[in-house]
Symmetry: C2
Subunit: 204 residues, 2 copies
């Protein structure tokens, strides 16, 4: 049984499409998932971008929103263009990392991304984050404060450092061993790669 490391940036539109699809597809393919929330912000800063490339390159950004509408429609995923973009995903990502440790990470990530890309909620807002946690049956206020406390908080930095080491440059990114697949369009390819017999190695 293969494994995919699913590197998710919670502010990323195309990551949202994958988050809505990956669990059913992975179950069907008998592929296990490791959820790896990280932050693209330091990675973008390192190449000179202070914000999302969809903001910096206006024509690409305009296209992306139209493509998101079409793709969400094609895939049957509810989607509403957020009125603010990009939103700060750091607090949500810290909570997601705590959730991954405790077994509710995948569910939290899906709920918080739905709040963002379906409900246009501000995922940097403590009230929004706590209400998502409450919906999961957790004590939202306590969990949120725990996640942003200093010791736990460094988990996001470590995760992002590992992403940089892997030369991840965008999201979503799927790693199957050393093999990188970037973008919601490559989710099926990553699943195929994870399930190919080990003797059928790619040999160009």
């Amino acid at each position: 049984m293969g494994t995919i490391d699913f590197w998710c940036e919670l502010a990323s539109p195309y990551t949202y499409l994958s988050v809505c699809r990956i669990e059913a597809l992975a179950t069907e393919a008998h592929v296990s998932l490791r959820w790896r929330p990280f932050s693209l912000h330091p990675i973008f800063k390192a190449v000179g971008w202070q914000t999302s490339p969809f903001e910096i390159y206006a024509d690409k950004g305009r296209y992306m929103w139209r493509d998101m509408e079409r793709e969400a429609d094609r895939l049957g995923i509810p989607f509403r263009r957020p009125t603010v973009f990009p939103r700060n995903s750091v607090p949500a990502s810290k909570i997601a990392l705590l959730g991954v440790e405790r077994g509710w990470g995948a569910l939290f990530i899906r709920k918080v991304m739905q709040a963002h890309f379906e409900g246009d909620r501000d995922i940097a807002s403590p009230a929004v984050l706590e209400s998502v946690l409450d919906e999961l049956g957790l004590d939202g206020a306590t969990v949120r404060q725990e996640a942003v406390a200093t010791a736990q908080s460094s988990a996001l930095r470590r995760s992002t450092e590992e992403a940089i080491r892997l030369r991840i440059f965008g999201a979503p990114t799927f790693m199957v061993g050393e093999e990188m697949f970037w973008g919601n369009d490559r989710l099926e390819n990553a699943l195929d790669w994870a399930t190919r017999p080990s003797n059928a190695k790619y040999d160009p």
Copy 2:
């Protein structure tokens, strides 16, 4: 019957994949094609890039070559990573535009892109261009000189200006009326769009 305007940059790796696929798929879908060679260079310069973004953003470039290998393999398209990238596509694009006027544009584009991405030939070299034209049964030297002569030469500038007006930012780009599809991954989506009944307009 729908129509796709197929905007091709002859130095673009992913455009090569579409060039190898689009004629069979369009025929099967009863979609007609308008071949629109253009140059991405002025478009990249306008956003501050002096060369390909795959050169400027090294991690993305490294990923792209690996993805190209995998995608070419998956699609059954012969591919060898060029030893020089990006190559100057301007002379080839001028010839391609003359070819589109005269009915041999699609064939020339396919042959010259195969020379580039399968044969690692320098598509800026007059000898390479003339030999591709000769293979088409044309008088390579005459046609090449005709294509780069001043009056004809401005066709590439006009084509690129139209691409800018359409807010094209990358290649390949498929336009179905006002609807833009970017990337080899969207070729099938563009074909679907071109063949949907006109009463089934997208309404988010």
